[in-house]
Symmetry: C2
């Protein structure tokens, strides 16, 4: 799409949006603001943006010493720590590209990413060494490994070589680094999508992308220096990526919990209360676990003013209400995409709607994904790419356009059909937009069930099944059917105390209050667990593969 | 300064930061938010961002009908109204350049601006027609005049021709406009500096500049959709410019007061209270007048949560305290520059300083200009351009760098010395930066008085004279002196009830508590008024010109 030239402006065109400016700004203007990080021994490490900036400069200097040059790719496999935060700035700031490695990827996927990106060095947490050791023999471009640990390097046991200690590198480097004036359109970092279909695909964010997204995210989520941001979402995850940049940009206090597990949330809750956290984020399963933990406390802590951004899938209304009732914390529904760097919509209450709507209506509204963040252009289109009205009724595929949205996957022949001719990215998600600008996801294009020429929303059906008090989790997929092309199949996990006490008929009756008879699943299987992808989403591909003959066998 | 290239990113490079996206976004996502505008008959006109966007599109369509093409310059001479807000988007959005015309400029200055910019059409308020009529014979490039009025065009009396009615143009134009995809680096708008020295100089802002500055301003001033922004600063003024873009971007309610005068603030105060304003801005003289008005009310209205950004010169501490004591409104000190589009620093309380400082210290801190806004790089340098430390002690010239800062004046040979070799803009202001990042202005380079090789701060001296209870206003300039090179001269306006009751000795004794004897002014002249520039600043050039021989005559 050609750009139209006009009358020349008089701006400083050599002044580029570079990531290093964000931490430099924080060090200068919010120098004494705290960063809190969980160490491997479980104690909290505290320092400031000013301290951090010195280490960020040392890191950049040490990259030069390692022989890293502008444009090199550096892999990072690490939990949420102050060291990871330093790498967020030091690696891109030096001109190298930080490739975020997802420890939930399989060895095949991870080694594919390393080779596809041509990674020269991998920075890895000591307790994730085994993951890298597994793939090292398959990774040809890697020249060395930098270990992130509180120990001395000589105390670290690994078969990797050559290895370097992160702390030793920083100690040996100078505390002042002259940042290169990078063209803002060059890559700063890369995420690989988990790929429910095919190989992982690389999204390479420019400095400009990250800078703009950080501003936009802080602006839309209203993050300020008064906030304490608790980064519990992994920093490599779309819902976590970007938040540390926003927090740093505005000088918010930042808390990084290191490695934690859903099974041991005591420490997380303790930090949440003790550090006076005001903003965090998570997928519904994490937030549900936190909620359950909070409900068990007597009394539950007062979390007035705390916002939890919730993405990945729709937060159940019951969970949002319980959070509010028990702690006064607010769940803010968001919708994001790796290809758009992070959030696309978020659902904060609009003052005029707050006045007009009843309490029930306000809660219902919170189930929508939210309105579009500043800077992004979202449209919904029919199967011929005609734009559909924003009337809350018309259902179409969601297309994204914006300065920090993906224009093409890196070196991924065959992926061109995910972009329209006029430059929009096809999300593969389907939904409506209402006249207030609220997006409501109804499904994924590939997860819509086509039965006899009509569509059935698997997402709606899952949500409705989960509303049944006996149900813990549910998945609905379309399975090939001789007569109807596809028919729905439901997998249901029952809560412990209801196991064996609920049958198929009861679930169908529950569904029948909201779905037409022809839409009801032909089969409901009660299972112990539902297959998940590496990022914790329901793995519909796996479910379909397992049950692909359930209706054709008959 | 060459940009360094790195590894390619995968972003949508054709997706540019265009001003039209801001209003489109507001119409879609904050469509029902209100814009309130004062009509010529004194009644309030109310409509929404959605209504506005239709008119913005009609405006852009009508420009095409007038024969305006991409890159053309359009002059705007208008008070703060919904029509002016529409022009903020419609003119740049179409690819033309909106040149802001300052009605306080002299005819010579205004006609110079029109000819220098090569303006093709002037959009002018009916009640400013006389200003344009005065300069029209000197403006060769102008092909027509568009009149902004609530009347029918046929009822408007003017000798200008050809004339067009703004409302008639919009009525005749289509409601849908396809925005051109403009290269974001082209000019969208231009401000001409008032020029205390030489001719007005043009700063041409790109779409990118305006978009980034709007994001940054909203982020730093924490403007959200919950705010009601009262635009009392003229929209052509550095302190007003940009605010409507930020308000629109985040969906804040916007109130535009039309034409008002300091002498008749009843209406302004009424709107302030009635519309539940939460954010406004002004120079100290306006805020002082508003305060006086509020103090006369019994009781003064409760303005808790209201922020008044104050720029142009230092807000007196007594005024900030009175605002707080009487109304709970907060004055936020800011420092801006036309060359940086708007604010450079702002002084909001940092949470950790709020905890540490005593109440007195917190008030003292509010006198500083504030910390640097996100995105700008500020340094202070000595006379050889060596960077000085941020220790709150070292005094140097303030240099600015940033993506939306001026790189060169438009077609202004001889102005190159206002930029350093490494791309910083020389503000001509002098000050300190402390370890918390707070900038404190001490003077303008050209207003520092050089006496016997030492510097005397005219600004400090003015502030100290004004602290004397008998003094209403004061100006201090350096005047040529045979022995000492320069010596200070003070002009003092006494308050009415102190006229003839205070003499030179008393003012000198007052100053002697803070200044060394050699720094005291050799002469103090009691005057009725102090010469001001077109933007209301003390016109030191005029004062020096009038009194240039006062010390050499002796």
């Amino acid at each position: 799409m050609d750009l139209i030239k006009g009358f020349p402006a008089t701006s400083q065109n050599s002044s580029q949006l570079n990531i290093s400016n964000i931490i430099k700004h924080a060090a200068r203007n919010f120098g004494r603001q705290e960063i809190v990080s969980m160490k491997q021994d479980g104690t909290l490490f505290r320092y400031t943006y000013r301290d951090s900036y010195e280490r960020v400069q040392r890191l950049a200097s040490s990259l030069t010493s390692l022989g890293v040059t502008v444009g090199d790719r550096i892999g990072v496999l690490a939990s949420n720590s102050h060291r990871n935060h330093e790498m967020y700035f030091g690696i891109p700031g030096s001109g190298a590209v930080m490739v975020l490695m997802n420890p939930r990827f399989t060895s095949q996927e991870l080694s594919y990413v390393v080779n596809h990106a041509g990674i020269r060095f991998i920075f890895v947490d000591e307790d994730l060494l085994h993951t890298v050791e597994d793939i090292a023999p398959m990774c040809e471009s890697v020249q060395g490994y930098v270990i992130l640990t509180d120990k001395k390097l000589s105390d670290v046991k690994t078969k990797l070589e050559p290895i370097y200690g992160f702390e030793e590198c920083l100690s040996n480097a100078g505390p002042i680094y002259e940042w290169p004036n990078l063209d803002e359109t060059v890559a700063s970092s890369a995420c690989y999508t988990s790929g429910t279909t095919g190989r992982p695909k690389g999204v390479y964010y420019s400095h400009r992308d990250v800078y703009l997204q950080a501003m936009m995210y802080a602006l839309n989520a209203m993050i300020t220096m008064k906030d304490c941001v608790f980064q519990i979402v992994p920093m490599f995850h779309v819902l976590g990526w970007g938040t540390p940049y926003s927090a740093t940009m505005v000088g918010a206090k930042l808390v990084l919990p290191g490695r934690y597990s859903l099974e041991n949330l005591d420490e997380i809750i303790k930090i949440l209360v003790q550090e006076k956290v005001t903003l965090s984020a998570g997928v519904p399963s994490i937030l549900r676990a936190i909620l359950n933990h909070l409900l068990k406390m007597d009394p539950s802590p007062d979390l007035s003013g705390v916002r939890f951004l919730c993405g990945g899938s729709e937060p159940p209304l019951s969970m949002m209400r319980s959070f509010w009732d028990a702690t006064k914390a607010e769940i803010v529904h968001t919708y994001g995409s790796t290809e758009a760097q992070a959030i696309v919509t978020l659902n904060l209450p609009k003052p005029w709607l707050n006045k007009e709507l009843t309490e029930e209506e306000r809660w219902e509204l919170k189930k929508k994904q939210g309105y579009i963040v500043v800077g992004l252009d979202v449209k919904i289109v029919d199967s011929s790419d005609n734009e559909l009205p924003h009337d809350g009724e018309a259902v179409g595929e969601i297309l994204l356009r914006g300065p920090w949205v993906l224009g093409k996957y890196h070196d991924a022949p065959g992926s061109e059909d995910q972009f329209t001719k006029d430059g929009y990215f096809r999300t593969g998600d389907v939904g409506t937009i209402d006249s207030e600008g609220y997006l409501k996801l109804t499904d994924r294009t590939k997860d819509l069930i086509k039965s006899g020429g009509e569509w059935i929303s698997s997402l709606d059906m899952e949500n409705e099944i989960v509303n049944h008090p006996a149900v813990l989790e549910a998945a609905v997929v379309g399975v090939a059917h001789a007569k109807w092309e596809e028919r729905p199949l439901a997998l249901v996990v029952l809560r412990d105390k209801f196991k064996t006490k609920v049958n198929k008929r009861e679930i169908l009756e529950h569904l029948a209050t909201r779905f037409a008879k022809w839409q009801l699943p032909d089969e409901i299987l009660f299972v112990e667990t539902i297959p998940k992808t590496s990022v914790g989403k329901i793995d519909k591909k796996a479910i379909r593969a397992e049950h692909n003959e359930i209706y054709t066998d008959n």
